[in-house]
Symmetry: D2
Amino acid sequence: MTALSAFAINCSLKPSTASESSSTDKMLSDLLTAFEPHDVAGEIVRALDHDIRPGVESDMGEGDGWPALREKIVAADIFILGTPIWMGQPSSVAKRVLERLDAFLSETDEKGRMPAAGKVALVAVVGNEDGAHHCHAACFQALCDVGFTIPANAGCYWVGEAMGSVDYQDLETIPDKVKETLEMAASNAAHLARLLKKQAYPGVSE
Amino acid sequence: MTALSAFAINCSLKPSTASESSSTDKMLSDLLTAFEPHDVAGEIVRALDHDIRPGVESDMGEGDGWPALREKIVAADIFILGTPIWMGQPSSVAKRVLERLDAFLSETDEKGRMPAAGKVALVAVVGNEDGAHHCHAACFQALCDVGFTIPANAGCYWVGEAMGSVDYQDLETIPDKVKETLEMAASNAAHLARLLKKQAYPGVSE
Amino acid sequence: MTALSAFAINCSLKPSTASESSSTDKMLSDLLTAFEPHDVAGEIVRALDHDIRPGVESDMGEGDGWPALREKIVAADIFILGTPIWMGQPSSVAKRVLERLDAFLSETDEKGRMPAAGKVALVAVVGNEDGAHHCHAACFQALCDVGFTIPANAGCYWVGEAMGSVDYQDLETIPDKVKETLEMAASNAAHLARLLKKQAYPGVSE
Amino acid sequence: MTALSAFAINCSLKPSTASESSSTDKMLSDLLTAFEPHDVAGEIVRALDHDIRPGVESDMGEGDGWPALREKIVAADIFILGTPIWMGQPSSVAKRVLERLDAFLSETDEKGRMPAAGKVALVAVVGNEDGAHHCHAACFQALCDVGFTIPANAGCYWVGEAMGSVDYQDLETIPDKVKETLEMAASNAAHLARLLKKQAYPGVSE
């Protein structure tokens, strides 16, 4: 079994220096645990620890923190976008990350393949209540547009009851169904990334 | 190269007996043409020619037209959902098809795999104006939830200028960029379906 | 205080003859109760009790059940769209209703006002888990497009914890926050409908 | 006719010091022109000219540029959210603005009314292609959640043909249908804001 690498970005509205810890971090960490039996080693980075400039190019100039993150995305086999839910939607930080990935559209090789070609993406979403499916939808569409492949059951999530305020990180244990979802997502992503690493998309001659 | 099969459902609001022809049909047909060099043979069915009953089970009883379509989906390697845009959103017919696929969630095998496991899905969208990306988002999410795999660049579409009324089927030729998108989607879908047919998702032991 | 009328459509996937009762019905009924102190009398109709034909015209011909419902919408001051969540999205039945309302776009008067001008709309959503905000978003956009006015806090909803299976109708009591939301939505809708009934949108001379 | 005020935020990914001008700015300016006959005076601010910090509180501390903008929103009768489309979705900057408005949820008065109560919101969207309806949907939902009222036909937009690259600001004239939409949106918003300014939502006693 070829070793694979996963790179996760936590799009919390808080940097890692914030006093409160992040439920999104907890889920990303639970997901990386689910990847271990599949020989996938992962890294989690907090988006807000980096100065990701607004824009749709791969490098927005001096001081831009994106190029370093972009490099990690391009180096990894599996990309995991982790976002909290605010107002039923992905965070502005997740949107910023997706906008920066938009540059992939014009960075195709001679076969029309983008830098994400052959890479597999998962989307992990946590919130106090409601919004996960829409976050999956918005993120899957954008990630697929820029060349990522979405494995079966790629949407990981937890949310509480409507208008609730429980945090994922405060649950005593990971709910069984969430655990199953993480395990299936990890298994599918690892399998698919391995296949595509060995036999790349042929692309289309221009 | 193993021969593959694709099955497309046209979720137009008109049955095939309607006097007007369907732009969605035209795009699905253009997509099947793009599949030909990849040894993928396809079939297009008009959803409204069948009495697909409301519900979320695989068989809603006597007279239900869904089981026959479901059988074709399960038999094919590639599933193509074709929908027109109404009010910027997928058609009610597309929604009905997705709701019927919801039954897959409880039809898992002993490894937790749904009937769509290993099948690849594309979404083809046409409208007079605006709405394609949202249709992709909503459909990718639902299809991924029920076990389909979404290849890179799986979103095919054409829409005209804001508040316009031009039909895809009335364009003199397929716009170059649409053609490229169809070719890339077909190439990616065929490649991925072939890989997954040969090496199925292992699933997760319960 | 002028008496007002509200008309609600329950877009459940089950007709009212189904053996199981509808959680969407329960919420619509709770909402009508919240309207009582505002002198608003309401009616709830189950969409699937009527043969609403696919299409985007106000009358799709013989046997079409829509014209009778459309008449009730046009006669009422307040329109309430009630939908269950399936796959994180509004039901196909809700989509069908919205598509039929699309006809309003071409039924403007000499001031460019659609049949829904001056009418206020609320959206009530129930599900076992996740999806309410997206349902609100999709429905608000479509309803606003065809001329309805959306009062502040027009989104009523209840959903359970992620991947849960509790039904709204099986809760022992209406959760406090849901009750507050229903009361605020009713208060706002009644106030706004009353204002607009007395002083209609002037429209724009063509 | 009471004079009213409108406040517009342009959520472009470029600050106003950027060399390129903004199509979103052009549309917001066209919209303010449409407001003139209704005695509504407006101001447009570029979000990226201010250091809007990530978070969901009204003041995220020293250096936060949001409180000054929040003050303008609270002072105005009409709020206009202007966003470009990226990947078929509202910009990360628009999302950031919506997240900051989330604080309104906990800033209710003794009648449960948020700071946006009685204020009317419009959403103006421009893009090279596709995505306007989804942007309207996502923004209407979030704005309605935090207490804004959405008038009939509140969605202003222009997008070009699929995969096109024409900019709104490069069109020789405003397309007739866009002009009509702007005029109707302005007329409806001014009428509604005037009604609600004179007769405020009563709210609900706790």
